[in-house]
């Protein structure tokens, strides 16, 4: 009988708490979004699966000695995994469009207003009873507006590890929702004629420019904002490996096997933070709400900036391009292209939108650096 008692005690059924069941359902929902809806599956599938694993009673994934415990402490707490992902993303990024039209950087800058407005908003939420975000919490939440997964995870792991799960889930979910969130805002802020504006064709960028560019970015970051140097530096390393053309085997590994391995682990580790006591809170609802606002404000700020620039620019600028400044590469650029085509079926904006799109990545890394420097 004692054996049977032990056996029953060793089933999860005897130990399930309600919160764990809910969180497993949340994990399943993430899997559903990833698989059936195609929401950022590379991250949301491992995150969802990690959430399920982490909430199995007695399985001990998150306990000292458990798999997710090790992965989290080795890769997230140290910041190593998001940085390696950033290196891989750098090795996949082509800055040609931005170098050919550097003014687009201003769109990537404007869209970061989504981050700082959300920071303000998160503090405002404290007026509602039940919310108690510190400045660190608010900053970590605000970075969702950067629309850049590894940046959000890196910053959250430094400023507000308890909110990491909710922030990462919000960041990736909204990135997947970009095609739904952005178009109404873009259309509301522009006229059909503005959306029809054709851009001049981009010049061809030389190999030398593409090779020196990451070094220039690194140099600026090293001088002005060293707190952003880990993110910016690893991104530039990846990009330099790609553009130099002399270390193709390293570049290929960085943007394939290495980033794949790290992505699996990163996703599982983020998922391990989706525990009931940390996720099933009022804060999470606040984070989800703020995230949507962040994306919307960032999109609007980008579009308005583009309209402003259009007034002072000799060459015409299609204001839709501003929406790509939130990053969410390459989704936002595709959305710009799609909305542009709706207004003018012969107007292909994709290549032009890649400029503000990659500018947005740099912009949110810079914003993350500022937050780390002033709040961290």
């Amino acid at each position: 009988m004692e054996g049977l008692q032990t056996l029953w005690e060793s089933t999860a059924l005897a130990h399930f708490e309600f919160g764990q069941i809910i969180m497993m359902a949340v994990g399943l929902l993430l899997l559903f979004l990833a698989i059936a809806k195609g929401f950022e599956p590379l991250l949301l599938l491992p995150i969802g699966f990690g959430a399920i694993l982490a909430n199995i009673p007695l399985a001990g994934f998150n306990d000292e000695g458990g798999l997710l415990y090790y992965i989290y402490h080795v890769g997230i707490e140290t910041g190593v995994f998001p940085l390696l992902i950033f290196m891989g993303v750098g090795a996949m990024t082509d800055f040609s469009a931005l170098i050919a039209n550097p003014k687009m950087l201003l769109l990537g800058a404007a869209a970061q207003f989504g981050i700082f407005a959300t920071l303000f908003g998160a503090i405002l939420l404290n007026l509602i009873p039940g919310f108690d975000f510190s400045l660190q919490d608010a900053s970590a939440i605000a970075i969702i507006g950067g629309a850049d997964g590894p940046t959000a995870i890196f910053l959250a792991s430094k400023l507000a590890p308890d909110l990491l799960g909710a922030i990462a889930v919000a960041a990736y979910s909204y990135m997947a929702l970009v095609p739904i969130i952005q178009p109404p805002i873009m259309k509301a802020l522009t006229t059909v004629d503005e959306r029809k504006i054709k851009m001049e064709q981009l010049r061809v960028v030389s190999k030398k420019e593409k090779m020196i560019f990451p070094l220039a970015v690194l140099f600026l970051s090293a001088m002005l904002l060293p707190a952003a140097a880990p993110l910016v530096g690893m991104f530039c390393l990846g990009n330099l490996m790609k553009e130099s053309g002399v270390v193709d085997r390293l570049s290929n590994t960085a943007q394939n096997e290495l980033i794949n391995i790290v992505t699996i682990f990163l996703g599982l580790a983020v998922g391990s933070k989706l525990s009931a006591e940390k996720f099933l809170t009022l804060e999470t609802l606040g984070i989800l709400g703020l995230g949507a606002i962040a994306f919307s404000i960032g999109t609007a700020a980008g579009v308005l900036m583009a309209k402003l620039m259009s007034k002072f620019s000799k060459q015409p600028i299609n204001p839709l391009l501003g929406a790509a400044g939130v990053s969410a590469v390459p989704m936002a650029a595709r959305v710009v292209n799609k909305v542009g085509l709706e207004a003018n079926p012969h107007n292909f904006l994709l290549m032009h939108a890649m400029g503000p799109n990659v500018a947005g990545v740099l912009g949110s890394a810079v914003a993350a650096g500022i937050l780390l420097a002033l709040v961290g």
Binding site: A109, A117, L119, I123, N126, S139, K208, A216, G363
Partner: protein, 81 residues
């Protein structure tokens, strides 16, 4: 810190943050323009492009393909005699 202090801090962060982001990316615009001038002054050496008119460019598949063709053409001829 109470909420009003936090709001003040958040406001300052918003201001400082946007200024620095714009400053940083504006300086990058300048840097790119300098970079472009530099690249124009010292252009990439023009490498002789590989002649892509040559009908069989891939040396890897060509022997196979040629063998296949030879065989196939022979077969075809034989059948159509």
């Amino acid at each position: 810190m109470n909420v009003s202090e936090l709001l003040a801090e958040a406001g300052i962060l918003m201001l400082v943050g946007m200024v620095v982001v714009f400053l940083f990316l504006s300086m990058l615009i300048v840097a790119i323009k300098l970079l472009t001038k530099f690249a124009e002054a010292y252009p990439d050496p023009i490498k002789p492009k590989r002649n892509e008119i040559k009908p069989i460019s891939s040396s890897k598949t060509s022997p196979q393909v040629i063998a296949a063709i030879t065989a196939a053409v022979k077969q075809y001829k034989a059948r159509n005699k």
